[in-house]
């Protein structure tokens, strides 16, 4: 073998070995399979576009939506707003298990952080767009209990609201127009959705670790403690969490029946996704409907191809695991008061509620040790993203950017 060939071989050997080795400083070995999964989980990336809402990224719409999110006048009694249950200082979730607006709701108000990354919206996926989802609570008698006619009246009666509306959407429809209320109502939803698209928290310590590992850099590995790294490894392997909590927002945005026991005050027979499919397919506000700005797009097509089957009865959307801190209780009825209770349920399956419908067959007790549960808990704590702009947590000065 000549010298040149030996050099080439040496370089190849070195490259191959460097490519295979773990980044320095990891507490546990992350092999190819785990690294591949990490690549799917991080980074969070940009908020996906919503072609069904052409105002989705309009700053004027977002400002109006920000105002409306806190505006209690949208409710029947003038005392309930979106922020009543989606409490900004509680990760835009609810400290209570079951939401309480005009009445006691049947489900827990989920966090709105990173909500815009979803494919379906609501625990049962009753909406195929964020703006469609925002419309539901406004007229639900247990939530804001309002009515689109009253909401349209509010815009006609409040000059500041009227000005903000017209800045974004053009002239406020004449009240004599039979479709006026619907048009205003839809634009309220699109405005609130534009605001909710700003509620993004990514770039967590986990993301810094994943980026370092992906590039075999030692700089960034220290973002996760040894315990958190062990917890991450468990998350990716034996705990099997990525069966459902996959993708950059740690959710498949699909629906599963995990047999979580109902809250004492909650429904035992909540249809979940079964009802959600019927709702979204029957709604005038779906992506293929007349109010959508993309009636023939991917989302519209997806709704037409949903499987209607009893398998979806009692299935609920996989929640994101990013930014769990300060948003307890958990699950669709808020039946678990803290993260330890959630982990205990998946570890033991104690209290699993057996129904006659399909449940995830792959869920079996994990039987982790106390230290492993502690590691898993620690890892989940590393998914806290950068803090939101504090101005998003309080009502703005007015409904227009010029206010």
């Amino acid at each position: 073998m000549d010298l040149g060939l030996k050099s080439i071989l040496g370089i190849a050997l070195l490259s191959a070995l460097m490519g295979c080795q773990d980044a320095p400083g990891t507490a546990v070995e992350f092999g190819d399979a785990e690294r591949k999964q990490l690549g799917r989980l991080s980074p969070l990336g940009d908020v996906p576009p919503d072609p069904t809402n052409r105002f989705a990224d309009d700053p004027n719409a977002a400002r109006l939506g920000h105002w409306l999110f806190f505006d209690e006048r949208l409710s029947l009694d003038g005392q309930v707003s979106c922020a009543t249950c989606h409490v900004p200082t509680h990760a835009f979730s609810d400290p209570k298990s079951l939401a309480k607006g005009m009445g006691l709701g049947e489900r827990h108000a989920p966090s709105l952080i990173n909500v815009a990354y979803g494919r379906w919206f609501g625990w049962g996926g009753r909406a195929d767009s964020l703006w469609m989802q925002a419309l539901g609570p406004l007229e639900n008698p247990l939530e804001l209990g309002g009515h689109r006619d009253l909401i349209a009246d509010l815009f006609h009666d409040d000059p500041d609201l009227k000005r903000a509306y017209e800045t974004t959407f053009g002239p406020l429809p004449n009240e004599s127009d039979v479709t006026a209320s619907d048009e205003v109502f839809v634009n309220v939803g699109k405005s609130i959705a534009a605001f909710e698209r700003l509620l993004v928290r990514g770039n967590s310590r986990f993301d810094q670790f994943a980026a370092a590992l992906a590039s075999n850099r030692s700089d960034g590995i220290e973002a996760l403690s040894d315990s958190e790294q062990r917890g991450l490894h468990l998350f990716l392997t034996r705990a099997n969490c990525t069966q459902c909590h996959l993708g950059p927002n740690f959710t498949d945005s699909e629906f599963h029946n995990t047999a979580a026991p109902p809250h004492p005050e909650g429904r035992r027979d909540d249809p979940g996704r079964f009802q959600g499919i019927a709702h979204v397919q029957g709604s005038e506000f779906k992506a293929s409907g007349i109010y959508s700005d993309d009636r023939n797009g991917t989302t519209a097509n997806r709704v037409q191809h949903l499987v209607k089957s009893s398998d979806s009865f009692g299935a609920f959307k996989t929640p994101s695991l990013r930014n769990l801190a300060g948003r307890a209780p958990f699950m669709h009825q808020g039946q678990f008061e803290d993260l330890d209770a959630v982990l205990h349920f998946y570890d033991t399956r104690e209290g699993a509620s057996v129904t006659s419908h399909h449940q995830e067959q792959i869920l079996a007790p994990l039987r982790l040790s106390p230290s492993e549960l502690s590691d898993l808990h620690a890892f989940l704590g590393s998914l806290e993203g950068a803090a939101l702009d504090p101005s998003l947590l309080v009502p703005p000065a007015g409904p227009s950017l010029s206010d």
């Binding site: 490259s15 191959a16 459902c244 699909e254």
Partner: protein
Amino acid sequence: MKPHALILLLLSACGGAEALDASAVVEQDSNAANFVLSVRHTPAVMPLNAEFEVRFQLLDMEGRALDVEVEDVSVDADMPEHGHGMTVFPSVRREGSEYVAGPMLFHMSGRWEVYVDVRRGAVTERAQVAWTLD
């Protein structure tokens, strides 16, 4: 072993690549061996939790295109170990000699079986292929 062969071996030692040739074709006899399902991997790598389409041909046992109307062809997929299928049902359309089914959505990792049912007269016959997403 020749040095260049060793170099190639070393460079592939880390694995990680799951590339399937986009032109790769999987052929599977139907369950009653009356036709052949010929599936082309499209896209080359099956995406996890993202919609895709699958392209296939239906051939008789001599390799000639089967004369089946698109309305008589249906596609579905299932995860036997999980006891459930996809959350969407695909439509089937015809493009020349190929049938195209979509949207397909494999929303979980694991073994998926894809079923292609062909109805001819009173008889529906199935051919199936399996993919595992890790």
